[in-house]
């Protein structure tokens, strides 16, 4: 066993519940610093929200955690962790005539696809629909289902509510809550939507290049921190 692997195992043995440790993370893209000196931990079963304005580095953070982008600092995942990812946009999906069944077959078997879709509340006939013909809400739920293939321990969501109407949002809210409850899934969520932050989050990180606040939402997401984060007054109704 490699020295590094031993060290990581030792570290996680101390605190079995930690699934991800990020220390002094700095990400530069085209010589511009997008994230600076970010450190945080994620515990198993936690729903952590990353909140911040456009261009704050939220999507970059998720992509860095996934190993897609280069970085400085430390990202340590729990050994053998399985990660599911739901991207913000899937731009070319309408260009390709691919059915929902075939989309799942890119990653898994028909049986597993049917099982997951059933749990998420889809009927079997959705399998034959063209991916490009689905509504935004349906498509987003299909992406969630796709991310659940192979039983991940943690799901990374990038703005799951973009372009979805109120009813669609409610469905995805309840889906996330159900997943959290049933599977003890750890969820890392990037969003602008304060409703989600208060409804399902245990922990929030306010990001605008630097970490501007962190902790349980009820204590940390206040009109004052939001004004600091977004740079202007935000209309805000406290959730009780």
């Amino acid at each position: 066993m490699g020295k590094l692997k031993k060290q990581v195992l030792k570290m996680f043995a101390k605190d079995k519940k930690i699934i991800l440790k990020v220390k002094n993370l700095t990400v530069k893209l085209d010589k511009e610093e997008i994230i600076k000196n970010l450190s945080f931990e994620v515990k198993e079963g936690q729903v952590l929200t990353i909140l911040g304005p456009n261009g704050a580095g939220k999507t970059v953070l998720l992509k860095t955690l996934l190993g897609i982008l280069p970085y400085n600092g430390k990202i340590e995942w729990k050994i053998n962790v399985k990660i599911g990812y739901v991207p913000q946009r899937v731009p070319f999906v309408k260009q390709i005539p691919i059915s929902v069944r075939e989309f799942f077959l890119l990653k898994t078997t028909k049986e597993e696809a049917e099982k997951i879709l059933d749990k998420i509340g889809f009927e079997k006939r959705i399998l034959e629909k063209r991916l490009g013909d689905l509504s935004s809400g349906q498509f987003q739920r299909i992406l969630v289902a796709w991310a659940l293939v192979k039983n991940p321990n943690i799901l990374l969501f990038d703005e799951p509510m973009t372009g979805i109407d109120v009813k669609g949002k409610e469905t995805i809210y309840s889906l996330l809550l159900k997943l959290k409850k049933e599977r003890n899934l750890t969820i890392l969520l990037v969003t602008h939507d304060l409703n989600i932050v208060f409804k399902i989050s245990d922990y929030v990180i306010c990001l605008n290049k630097y970490c501007m606040c962190r902790g349980p939402p009820i204590k940390n997401v206040t009109p004052k921190t939001l004004q600091k984060l977004y740079g202007s007054k935000i209309k805000f109704y406290a959730h009780k």
Binding site: I83, Y85, F92, I96, P97, S99, L106
Partner: protein, 253 residues
């Protein structure tokens, strides 16, 4: 066996495999990439005609050069692909016509499938079959990359390696395709069967199989019409393909 049979065999193989790879190019909005590459082969075809060696062998180094140039320009300038396409495409034609013998221009521009012997037929068929197998093995990965590079990377797919393989396959097929339809029309071998197929298909299975079928059908009918009319085979193949596309527009799902 006469040249006609060789032409038919080559036509079927190249038409089918170009149709297959075309399904990936169309979904990436890269269908026209084969255009500038085809045009860039013109200097290579000119050299092969002047010195009397195989057209595809002359074309191949120029296609590889073209792929490298497009990749280099895109990385360094971040200009849109269409702009780079125009630059590379015009340069290929301009350089070719500086030293292409006028009497050979027709072969370079619209191809001459009758210039093929039994060895050429065997090698081309084997190459096409191998390319078909490689595409089939990597098709799922390439489709996922087309849908979303991030999703593919997150699923552990080596996107760079697959993109390189994909461009290399386009390079070989363009080199083989110029023999059949010439430097001007190569892009059509990839783009039109896939476009027609997309109009009819509601899933990936139909899309790929119909595109292969339309590629083969266009080549087959084009070469048969050439046999009876003696019009040039390359433009006939593309005309049949365009006709199929028109029909697909009428019956679009």
């Amino acid at each position: 066996m006469d040249g006609f049979i060789f032409s038919l065999i080559i036509g079927i193989f190249i038409g089918g495999v170009c149709g297959y790879l075309g399904t990936l190019m169309l979904s990436r909005k890269m269908a026209l990439t084969a255009g500038p590459l085809g045009h860039l082969t013109l200097p290579g075809i000119a050299l092969s005609l002047i010195y009397g060696f195989d057209v595809s062998l002359g074309a191949f180094p120029f296609v590889i050069l073209g792929i490298f140039l497009i990749w280099l320009f895109e990385t360094r300038t971040k200009l849109p692909m269409e702009t780079l396409t125009a630059v590379v495409f015009a340069s290929g034609v301009a350089i070719a016509f500086l030293f292409l013998p006028v009497e050979q221009a027709e072969t370079a521009l619209i191809g001459n499938i009758t210039r093929v012997d039994i060895y050429g037929t065997i090698i081309t068929s084997i190459l096409c079959f191998l390319i078909f197998l490689i595409i089939r093995k990597n098709y799922h990965k390439m489709v996922l990359i087309n849908i979303s590079e991030d999703l593919a990377k997150a699923s552990g797919i080596n996107v760079r390696k697959n993109n390189l393989l994909y461009l290399f396959l386009i390079g070989i097929l363009v080199s083989l395709g110029v023999r059949m339809v010439g430097g001007l029309l190569t892009a059509a071998l990839f783009a039109i069967p896939a476009a027609s197929s997309r109009n009819f298909s509601k899933n990936l299975f139909q899309y790929t199989n119909l595109s292969i079928f339309f590629g083969i059908l266009s080549s087959l009918l084009g070469i048969l019409i050439y046999k009876f009319t003696n019009l040039p085979a390359g433009p006939l193949i593309i005309s049949v393909s365009s006709l199929i596309f028109l029909i697909s527009v009428i019956f679009k799902r």
